[in-house]
Symmetry: C3
Subunit: 317 residues, 3 copies
């Protein structure tokens, strides 16, 4: 079976997940993003690649920050952008997801950016849109957040040049994190020497071994000698329940402090997808310290999203 993200010429036509994407596609996205990074320093930060195209931000789950990054990226490509908070509109009128999509497609959309709380929704949509319409997943349930994964890869390549000899530790709530999943797939495809998952047992999914990931429940062991540490956001709603005792307890064991960071390589970079819980998963001294590349991730995220949108919109049907 063909990868549903690629057309019959093997070009990327939708971005749903980093899982199963060939290394040359990932590299092509990163290379394309690299051409957009210098735009930031130009007086007019725009290119006409998507001029006259219609990009729909379909956010079935609210996320101002992610929506904004896609809106910026689309406008810098000169597209027309339409923001739709679907939960407050058609869904309330009892229309099915596929009817909503069919309707928006009929308005001659070119690209849907989809955020949905249900895993698989962007894939379902991609299966049903007209051939000229492209779908980019902006986060679906616990499944995937591929543009976050790609911007993390961009950030790593920017600071470490090569993936081959790296040790990368992903730390925190791996179980519920679509970011972790998208990162792990991209890291293994790009040939990172050692990918580690670090967290309490209750927040580690099964099957990590089969993905080629080394599992650690002791954070000090897990980040020892790491070149890259990717901290995950701890959802507040996990706290105080069966999975985790308290944020104080969590910070003690899995919060990234300067003391723990000293165990990693001396030129280790620290990443976080945001928004941060300071004092829960990361100490302010680290978040604002010299190893942090957290704001670089945000900047590169615009260029990576421009790359993804221009690549899929340019793919033939």
């Amino acid at each position: 079976m063909r990868n549903p993200q690629l057309n019959r010429h093997g070009e990327l036509t939708h971005l749903i997940t980093t899982e199963g994407l060939p290394r040359d596609i990932l590299t092509h996205i990163l290379d394309t993003a690299q051409t957009f990074v210098p735009l930031a320093d130009r007086d007019v930060k725009k290119v006409p690649l998507l001029r006259g195209k219609s990009v729909f931000n379909l956010f079935f789950e609210n996320s101002t920050r992610t929506r904004t990054t896609f809106e910026i990226a689309a406008k810098r490509l000169s597209a027309d952008v339409f923001n739709l908070n679907i939960n407050v509109s058609s869904a309330a009128k009892g229309e099915t997801l596929l009817d909503t999509i069919a309707n928006l497609s009929a308005m001659q959309a070119d690209l849907f950016v989809v955020r949905h709380e249900a895993s698989g929704a962007p894939y379902l949509i991609a299966q049903h849109v007209a051939p000229h319409v492209h779908v980019v997943n902006a986060g679906d349930g616990r499944h995937a957040h591929p543009t976050q994964g790609l911007l993390d890869m961009y950030t790593i390549r920017h600071f470490k040049k090569d993936f081959a000899n790296l040790t990368v530790a992903v730390v925190g709530d791996i179980l519920h994190s679509r970011v972790a999943r998208s990162n792990i797939h991209a890291l293994t495809t790009l040939g990172v020497a050692e990918v580690r998952a670090v967290g309490p047992l209750t927040l580690l999914p099964s099957g990590l071994d089969q993905m080629g990931v080394r599992v650690f429940t002791d954070m000090k062991e897990g980040i020892k000698g790491a070149d890259v540490i990717i901290m995950l956001r701890l959802q507040n709603e996990r706290m105080g329940g069966a999975l985790l005792p308290s944020s104080h307890e969590y910070f003690k064991h899995y919060g990234l402090t300067e003391e723990k960071l000293a165990l990693a390589k001396s030129d280790c970079i620290v990443m976080h997808p945001g928004p941060m819980n300071r004092g829960v998963e990361i100490d302010s001294a680290v978040a604002d310290g010299p190893h942090s590349v957290i704001l670089n991730q945000v900047t590169f995220g615009i260029a990576v999203r421009m790359a993804v949108m221009s690549i899929v919109a340019g793919a033939s049907a």
Copy 2:
């Protein structure tokens, strides 16, 4: 008294209702829309007709779908678009509708697209705006939804070429439907041979006879030999009350099934303004079947709204 939608040269300066609009105005809108339809296949789907103009979407009643169609149409005309959900803003501060309108006019608006739950609000606004400001009704109470009526006319003309010899059945909750009202006025003006209203007695308004409409309470009778069937959305809030027993019962008598559709002409087209209640007013086999032109309506709707906006904005004061 002059038609308040026309200026002293007889040009369309506001679009409030299809009622009383001369046939040549309706035809001019459809002809203009026809010039915009091919834009959809072009790489850059824009024309500069409203460049530098300010279009305000004033939605006093929430409707993401309708707002989006106007936003797309305005942006494809190169206008600047401002979306205002008024119920959550000035109205909450106790400002009167006319003060809100006076203020927005003073910001040099060119065109107001108005959706309001009160019948007559767009007309009231049109009476009070400065001469250079144009008003387009995007649905007011049970009164009118003229752009929906016009896009339905466009769809009928596209598939049937001529209005003269047609039998058109409008089916469902005619009583509460601004779509039905706008369609009936346009259909009779355009010279359709037979316009039928089909629905349960409780959902049929009085006065249909005087509008030149044949009334049917038996759906099979009502759609027999029809060239065009326009199904109406059944508002969920009507259900289970005094007017209607249940959606199951409604579907049995007035839901459009393949079996009932067989009574219409063999080349009959089926229309619906959306969003559909599948299994209530329309069966999925029909909605997705070969007679359905429901998604064509959506596509033509963009072109028709572009036509209306470009025509009124081009009318002299």
Copy 3:
């Protein structure tokens, strides 16, 4: 200490408050606005001064009207505009204000328009943004609303030509009004002969004398011989509590009627920042009467906001 709104060349780089702004800066803003006013009569109401720049409307407090005026101004300068209602997004996720700002800055924002219920928030933000980012205060708590102050100055200069010999009365709830504060600072800096504050004792702050303002609790005394009357909006939430008995009582003593207005100069202009409470602080006969320049304020407000945004965005880092 340097004025935090000016860069080391003495140019305006942020607009936080009219307090302490030199007269030549105020005059430069008004002169620049004057060049934008004729745009309104042009067919294409846009200039390319901010083309390719990203303006973020950061509204931590909801205000559709003020947001819209900034959005219009930014789009007429050809900027890309991003609207963020922050209270429903990152803030809900527990992110700090400064992390939100750091993130948005990293997306290569050029200009933040900030509305916040906390006095001082825009100043805090201006202190923490990167050197190339500019901040414009769109209203913070009871502190300042400088663009409203400036558009009021523009309106006064437009109708009265010169500030020197004027008597200007600011009437109403001075205590809670950021508009009053911004106006008083601008009026005194621009050399208005007599600035008066008029209102009930409970709504007058202390310290007005030191600001060079004459205080009146009797409205008839306060507006006698005035060239300009600036009426303030009375927040409904003040009413019926300890500060004020009732809106009826308030209108009787401090509502501007034609009868009271007759005490001012015969060519007196009446201003109001909107939205008006007709029958509370102002009578409809006055609001819609020949002395009212309330809608002119709205129109000039667009030009003044264009001026402020183009000036700060043009300031070197």
